[in-house]
């Protein structure tokens, strides 16, 4: 059983934006990974980037360079 912890979840309007976000994070050595969108955010399907809050802080500092658009960012225990 996984231990729950706090994550920052970022969702996207399209799979393309999710791919762009993953590429950006990998190129900038920012941790996280793509997961199915949690039901707390949206029922249905789609991809979300799950990252630790400290990684999100790193991502936030580079916001001006983002090559993707986010739909929503929310902290979730999961």
């Amino acid at each position: 059983m996984r231990l729950k912890r706090l994550y920052m979840i970022i969702t996207f309007a399209t799979t393309t934006e999710a791919m762009a976000a993953e590429k950006f994070c990998l190129e900038h050595d920012i941790g996280g990974r793509l997961i199915p969108v949690p039901q707390e955010i949206s029922a249905g399907c789609g991809l979300a980037w799950r990252m630790l809050p400290e990684d999100f802080a790193l991502l936030e500092r580079q916001r001006s360079q983002w090559s993707f658009a986010v739909e929503e960012c929310r902290e979730i225990m999961m």
Binding site: A13, T16, L34, G44, C45, G46, L47
Partner: protein, 385 residues
């Protein structure tokens, strides 16, 4: 075998294309339909292909490129729902049926369409754009290069016209993507439709459409999107707006490999080679008895396409002789360009089209010149006796 039917589809492709398709068939899931590794791998390949296409076509944002299964689907996806009843569209007689038929369909919905005429060499007069402009004109829909004559449209000039009058510029780049430099941003193209299996050297079943930022496409095809499943309408964000249903991930993986080759080689270099072949062929056949060429061969810029007829010989019969006696593959018939054939008076005869590709050689061209010479001389002799 000598393959000179590259305007229909490129047969010789970089070996990495087939390898990528095979690898994709064995490893890709369905892009955007989950978060396990095979589906993410598919989504990454597709995204990477968008990035490479954006680079090749001069688009700043890869998400403005949507994949389709060919140029016809790309053109339909924009032309069928771009115009409202009463709108007027300027196009030309040089267009392929993939432009003509969606616009004929639009006409049944009250859209008015004007086809600009061509001269004896199949060239349109750009002054006719201004002459046919109406207050209701919304767009110019035009091919970058005729698939029959190889004549190239001066897109900078047409773009100047559309920008000056606030019109949309929709370009059919079926014969030029991968063969001639195209820069949607620099030229100011609003919508560009392309196929993946011709000059781009990808697999059949691939293609796409670039839609400039700020322009909201209205999809004619709706369905699965991988996002927002509970919406009753299809998502409107590019590229999802124009990508209902599962994408051809396996084909797109092949296109990705082809783009690696194109970007490494350079479209300018490929164009220079294809142009050399085309002009060598023209030089060899233009003075032969009974050979008539269609198109403007004095133009500085041309696609590597040469269409011809020999006397009154059926173009299909000539293509059959070329295949059976010389193992040369060409396309005969009407080439889905009915208005231009009507203009040339070749509705019955059609034309024999030689189209040259990246992997063709000068020796192959010389063999084709010899073949055309022999057929033409035999025809001339039979008609003299």
């Amino acid at each position: 075998m000598i393959y000179f039917d590259n305007a229909a589809t490129t047969l010789q492709k970089p070996p990495a294309v087939a390898e990528a398709v095979l690898e994709a068939l064995q490893s890709l899931g369905n892009a955007g339909r989950g978060a396990h590794e095979p589906t993410l791998k598919a989504a990454r390949v597709i995204y990477d292909t968008r990035v490479k296409l954006a680079k090749l076509l001069g688009a700043a944002d890869p998400s403005r490129i949507a994949f389709t299964c060919n140029a016809t689907e790309a053109l339909n996806s924009v032309l069928q729902r771009l115009f409202a009843p009463g709108d007027h569209v300027l196009t030309t007689v040089c267009e392929h049926n993939s432009v003509l038929r969606p616009l004929y369909l639009a006409k049944t919905n009250g859209v008015e369409v004007t086809h600009l005429q061509a001269d004896a060499l199949g060239r349109i007069d750009y002054a006719d754009l201004e002459k046919n402009l109406r207050p209701q004109t919304k767009a110019v829909v035009i091919t970058h290069a005729s698939n029959l004559t190889g004549n190239v449209t001066d897109l900078d000039l047409v773009a100047d016209f559309t920008h000056q009058h606030g019109l949309l510029l929709v370009v059919d780049a079926s014969q030029t993507a991968g063969c001639l430099p195209v820069d949607v941003t620099k030229t100011g193209i609003d919508i560009l439709c392309f196929t993946g299996h011709k000059g781009l050297m990808g697999p059949q079943g691939t293609g796409g459409v670039y839609v400039r930022p700020g322009l909201a496409p209205r999809p004619f095809k709706v369905g699965g999107s991988g996002v927002h499943s509970f919406l009753t309408t299809h998502p409107d964000k590019m590229p999802t707006a124009l990508e209902a249903g599962t994408l051809n991930g396996h084909g797109i993986a092949g296109l990705n490999a082809a783009l690696d080759f194109l970007l490494a080689t350079g479209v300018e270099k490929i164009h220079a080679h294809e142009e050399m072949l085309m002009r060598r062929f023209v030089q060899g056949v233009q003075a032969l008895p009974e050979v008539k060429l269609y198109g403007d061969y004095q133009a500085a810029e041309r696609a590597a396409i040469v269409s011809l007829n020999i006397g009154t010989l059926d173009s299909g019969a000539v293509s059959d002789i070329l295949w059976e006696d010389y193992q040369i593959c060409v396309r005969a018939g009407a080439h889905c360009a009915p208005l231009l054939h009507r203009h040339f008076g070749t509705e019955q005869q059609g034309a024999v089209r030689f189209s040259f590709g990246c992997f063709n050689t000068a020796a192959e061209v010389d063999a084709a010149v010899t073949a055309v010479r022999e057929i033409a001389l035999q025809y001339a002799q039979e008609n003299r006796d």
